[in-house]
């Protein structure tokens, strides 16, 4: 050995071996063998479900925003990470490894990094496939990257927690138990509607305080409040678990263990901060608002020029839903022809954002002067949203089947819209008003039985004015008139009818 070599300052153990160790861990990480399983479950669950929905960004990311992609990966990631963490114990080499110059904390962090790289590569590859295909299909709306980020940070947390479990509870049973406990916890947060469960990457369409909606990103920008808080929480959890890996005496000198303790404290502080932030969360129509970090600019509606169809009264939709305009216009046309031009009739039908925690298939209300009919359509919904006991009546069929068929739109959507519009024009207080309403509904092709699923306006604030059987009988004559004759009669008698001075006997 030459003098020259002896004079060279030896590089630190970490610097010398970090890259080599990472390459070794990366090649041998058990996460690699879990990737096909997780990808298969992802394909079965998230991919097939997402691709069955229409090509809107709001719909195609619905499952992602519910955390289903994360859930497909989480059990395998936690299990494989715990398996990797318990390797030294399992192979009976824990003591031999402990006396190597490389601090054990560095070794464990490298194992975590390698496992996380595999998990993230697989997750991003799978999610990227959905985004890529959706973009290629010319999806409308705005793509959101928040669920991808939350899922990625969540998987990093799963890997850290899994490795910590494998290291700190060395047993052959640790890996499956960690995977199953993690799944149980996630599944439990999925079926809980509490404030603090908002921190979970899972958001149930049935119980969450802010169930993801299909029209997200169309009328308002995505609210980043909750994803940001989730990232802080999950990131904190990751740091805390990684810090725990370096607290044991075998992990290195006092300095290293102090750094590990500081990392744990930092992680816990971040997670607790997120818990504090989410405690003030409130659900709005547009998503979860967390007052401490909320930016009021996010509440501004998106600017767009609606596209309008040629009907007796123009039907205007968000341009993202342009493909459905002919179907909706065709389905609404019989109704709009009946009321167009009457005093008090809406001058335009305008689509607005979905409202409420669990949005209905369709809502309608008349507002403003001149009156405008505001309708909210749940286009691109997911069928499971209607499977809860306290939720609105399930529609006939899948979103695609419903909104691509004028006949189905007329069956499922038109009755409620028609009842709202006709009530606005005619009223429902007197027997004559009810009879004329019944006549107009009949003339628009809406049967009495199709109104039976709606609650009555008198019994529920969300109810509609429903003419009874007597009103339908009384309005039969008016309904039987030709469209021109009916229009002429209505024009002549509408003022008296609205004033309540006309009796049902005066109807034709």
């Amino acid at each position: 050995m030459s003098t020259m070599t002896l004079q060279v300052r030896p590089p630190s153990v970490l610097r010398l071996s970090a890259g080599r160790l990472f390459r070794l861990e990366f090649r041998r990480s058990p996460m690699l063998w879990m990737v096909p399983l997780a990808a298969a479950v992802f394909w079965l669950d998230t991919y097939r479900g997402s691709m069955a929905l229409p090509p809107f960004w709001g719909s195609r990311t619905l499952y992602l925003r519910q955390g289903m992609a994360f859930m497909d990966f989480a059990p395998f990631v936690v299990g494989a990470a715990a398996w990797a963490g318990g390797r030294d114990f399992r192979n009976g080499i824990a003591e031999q490894i402990a006396i190597t110059p490389l601090p054990r904390w560095a070794g464990r962090l490298t194992a975590w990094l390698a496992a996380t790289c595999w998990a993230l590569a697989a997750f991003l590859g799978c999610v990227g496939t959905i985004y890529g295909i959706t973009a290629r299909q010319g999806a409308t709306g705005t793509p959101t990257w928040w669920p991808v980020l939350v899922g990625a940070v969540g998987l990093a947390a799963c890997t850290a927690v899994g490795i910590a479990a494998g290291v700190l509870i060395p047993s052959r049973f640790t890996a499956p138990m960690a995977a199953i406990v993690a799944t149980l916890v996630l599944r439990q947060t999925l079926r809980s509607g509490g404030t603090f469960t908002l921190l979970s990457p899972m958001a149930s369409p049935l119980w969450s305080l802010a169930a993801p909606k299909a029209d997200a990103g169309f009328f308002f920008p995505y609210l980043p409040d909750l994803p940001l808080t989730q990232i802080v929480f999950l990131g904190g959890l990751t740091f805390a678990a990684l810090g725990l890996l370096g607290l044991q005496p075998v992990c290195g000198g006092r300095g290293i263990r102090r750094a590990a303790a500081a990392l744990t404290a930092l992680g816990l502080a971040a997670s607790l901060t997120a818990v504090g932030l989410v405690s003030g969360a409130r659900g709005t129509d547009n998503g979860v608002v967390i007052p401490a970090i909320h930016n009021a600019a996010s509440d501004r509606p998106s600017v767009f020029t609606p596209v309008c169809g040629n009907a007796a009264i123009p039907v205007c939709l968000h341009p993202g839903y342009k493909a459905y305009l002919p179907n909706i216009t065709a389905a609404f046309d019989p109704l709009l022809r009946e009321i167009a031009g009457l005093p008090g009739a809406p001058v335009r039908v305008t689509q607005v954002a979905l409202r409420g925690r669990f949005p209905d298939l369709r809502t309608a209300r008349v507002s403003g002067e001149p009156p405008v009919l505001e309708v909210a359509f749940n286009i691109g919904y997911e069928a499971i949203m209607w499977s809860g006991p306290d939720l609105p009546e399930p529609p006939c069929c899948s979103s695609t089947a419903l909104w691509t068929s004028p006949a189905r739109i007329a069956d499922e959507v038109l009755p409620l819209v028609a009842a709202t519009v006709i009530d606005g024009v005619i009223g429902h207080q007197t027997a004559a008003q009810q009879a004329v309403s019944a006549a107009l509904l009949t003339a628009a092709g809406i049967s009495q039985s199709s109104m039976s699923t709606f609650p009555d306006a008198e019994s529920s604030p969300s109810g509609v004015a429903k003419p009874d059987a007597a009103a339908y009988a009384a309005g039969r004559g008016l309904a039987a008139l030709s469209a021109t004759a009916r229009r002429a009669w209505l024009t002549a008698h509408l003022a008296a009818l609205r004033a309540g001075t006309m009796s049902a006997r005066q109807l034709p």
Binding site: P30, L37, V41, L44, R172, F173, P176, R187, Q188
Partner: protein
């Protein structure tokens, strides 16, 4: 038995029974809906993985050379553990209603155990949990989606003969093969 960590496995099974009791008390498992079935399925999976992992022995080839009674030991161990798991889970769900009933819960656990034992055969005792976990992930989806196939027995009612046959076949195959061949010995990872 001790080398197979049977005492630890029984403790883990008791923990599964405790979680089952807790789930029933806290209404995590309530009614017969998909959520209740999925929560129960996870606990059954946990029990099955414990039984499958207990098939692993630390002696490897030297145990194989120990004598001709080894297959009986493996079979007896698998059957005894399954019986203990069934008893503990039944105790954990005493006086409560499981989705599908206790017979379906036992059928599901036995089938999952069979898959676990087959995984032990293919992947080694330590990784025996991978099979039941993957099967449970698929079964969770099929329960939500309402798929009906006897091969995904957790989604089928207790009286379904096809599901019982499939689960029974998986268990019989797993127990028989693990008895004859033993878990795969992997000297890595």
């Amino acid at each position: 038995m001790v080398s197979r960590r049977i005492p630890n496995a029984v403790t883990a099974l008791a923990a599964c029974a405790l979680v089952l009791r807790l789930g029933l008390e806290l209404d995590w498992i309530k009614g017969t809906g998909a959520n209740a079935q999925q929560m129960l399925l996870l606990i059954e999976t946990a029990a099955a993985t414990v039984i499958a992992i207990a098939a692993r022995n630390p002696f490897g080839e030297s145990e194989r050379a120990a004598g001709r009674w080894l297959p009986y030991l493996r079979l007896g161990s698998a059957l005894a553990m399954t019986a203990i798991a069934a008893t503990l889970l039944a105790a954990g769900s005493a006086a409560a209603q499981l989705p599908g009933g206790e017979a379906a819960a036992f059928r599901n656990m036995a089938g999952l155990t069979g898959i676990g034992l087959l995984s032990a055969l293919l992947l080694g005792g330590g990784l025996a949990w991978v099979g039941p976990l993957a099967y449970a992930a698929v079964a969770e989806f099929t329960i939500s989606a309402g798929w009906q196939t006897p091969w995904i027995w957790p989604g089928r009612p207790a009286h379904d003969v096809g599901a019982a046959l499939c689960a029974g076949l998986a268990f019989a195959l797993g127990a028989a093969l693990i008895a004859v061949l033993g878990p795969r010995e992997l000297n890595r990872g």
